[in-house]
Assembly symmetry: C2
Homo-oligomer: 223 residues x 2
C-alpha cells in the first residue's frame, strides 16, 4: 500500500485533502502542529477529523514558532483583524509556515518511506499568502528531489497540492462528494474555547462564500 503524509490543520481544506488522499488509495499519516496558535479549537478539530477518517498515526508536533512572533495568529501583541477586501498579505500570515510544515513532513516522509506529502493549499480564494502559489510548490518539490537520502536513491516524494487550482466552492463540492463532514472542521482565526467561529475574520468570510457558491448548507457553528 502507498503511504502519504497529510498536513492536517483541522480546517476545511486539509480535511478535503485527507479525503482525496484516502480516495486515491494512500495509507495516510496525519501531521499537525501545535505552533503557538492562540486558540486550541484548531487542533481539536484536527483530532476530530483524524478520528473520523480512522487515521492510526496522527502526530501533533509542538513547534515554538510563537516565540519568534511576527504573526497575528501567534503573537499576543497583535490582534486578528476583520476581513480586508484587498490584495495585501494580512498580518495573519505566519512567516515561512508552509515551508516549515512541508520540511518536517519531508523528514517524516523519509522515515516511513512515504510516496507523497499532501498539502491543502489553494491559489484561488486564498489570503494572498506567498507560500500557496503553484510556483512555490514546484520550488519545494525541487528541494525535496535533492534534499533527501530517498532522492539519492531515486525515490521521489511527490508534493501533492490537489486543491491548488480549486475555488473554495469547488473544494467543498469535492469533499462533500467524498463524504467529508465539514461540521468537524474549523477555519476561523479567532474561534472561542467552545470552538464557535467568529463569522467575520478573513478565513470565516472565505468559508461562508465557499458554502454559498457551492450550494451546500454551511454546518459551521458561529457565535
Amino acid at each position: 500500500m502507498k503511504n502519504a503524509i497529510v498536513l492536517l490543520s483541522g480546517g476545511l481544506d486539509s480535511a478535503t485533502c485527507l479525503a482525496i488522499a484516502q480516495s486515491q488509495g494512500f495509507d495516510c499519516y496525519a501531521l499537525s502542529f501545535d505552533y503557538g496558535q492562540k486558540h486550541a479549537a484548531e487542533l481539536n478539530a484536527a483530532k476530530r477529523v483524524a478520528a473520523a477518517f480512522k487515521i492510526t498515526h496522527h502526530f501533533i508536533m509542538p513547534l515554538d514558532l510563537g516565540s519568534m512572533g511576527g504573526s497575528a495568529l501567534t503573537d499576543d501583541a497583535m490582534t486578528v483583524p476583520d476581513h480586508q477586501n484587498d490584495d495585501k498579505i494580512p498580518i495573519t500570515y505566519v512567516p515561512a509556515r508552509n515551508t516549515v510544515f512541508l520540511s518536517i513532513a519531508l523528514a517524516w516522509a523519509e522515515v516511513i518511506a512515504a510516496d507523497a506529502i499532501f498539502i491543502g493549499v489553494s491559489a484561488i480564494d486564498y489570503s494572498h499568502y506567498p507560500d500557496c502559489r503553484p510556483e512555490y510548490i514546484a520550488a519545494f518539490q525541487h528541494v525535496a528531489n535533492l534534499a533527501t537520502k530517498a532522492s539519492v536513491e531515486e525515490k521521489v516524494i511527490k508534493i501533492e497540492a490537489p486543491l491548488i487550482h480549486l475555488s473554495k466552492a469547488a473544494t467543498i463540492q469535492q469533499g462533500h462528494a467524498l463524504g467529508v463532514d465539514y461540521a468537524l472542521t474549523i477555519s476561523c482565526y479567532r474561534a472561542n474555547a467552545a470552538g464557535l467561529a467568529c463569522g467575520s475574520c478573513s478565513s470565516c468570510i472565505l468559508r461562508q462564500k465557499g458554502f454559498t457558491e457551492a450550494g451546500i448548507a454551511d454546518p459551521t457553528p458561529y457565535l
Copy 2:
C-alpha cells in the same frame, strides 16, 4: 546594520561560519536545535561558542525529530558506527535535517528582517549527506525567494554557505585566522557527558584529518 541568522550546531563548521558572518559586518542571531540528539555536549558547545562571539540572541528551539526516528543520532535503537571509508550515506544522516533547519531559520529571518541565513555545510570532506550539496542550497534559495512575504516585497534573504567549497583543513585555517577557539566546539557524534570526543566516529575522523592537513594543533579533548 545588516542582520543574519546563523545556524549554530556547536561544531567546527558552524563556529567558523559565525566568525565569517561577523567578519562581514552582520549582526548575528544564532539558531540551534534541541532535536533529540543523544548527547547534550553539542548544545553546550553551541552556548559556549555563542558566548565567545558575544551573541545577544541565541534561540535554542526544541524540535521533536527524535519521535520520528530514522537516524542513529536521535534513535536509541540505532548505534553510531565507527567511520566507514565509503561513499554511502551513513545511518547518522538525519532525515531532511538541513531543510527543516533552514526553514525555521527562514521563518525567524522574516520576523527580524534578516538579510541572510548562514549555514556551515560543505560538499568537501563531508559525510555524503545529500543536503550539503551546492545544488541543494541553490534549490532552497529558490524556495526562499518564493516562500516569504519578504520575497513578495522583493527583499531577498540570501542563503550563505561560505564553506561549501572548502576542505575541512581550509575551513580550520580560515576560522583560525578569524580567531575561532576550536577548543569550544565539538564535532563528535557520541561525545560523553563531560564533552569528551570518541576519536573514532566519522565526524571525529574528518575533524582530526582537517587539523592535521591544516598544520594546526587539534585542541579537541578526546577520551
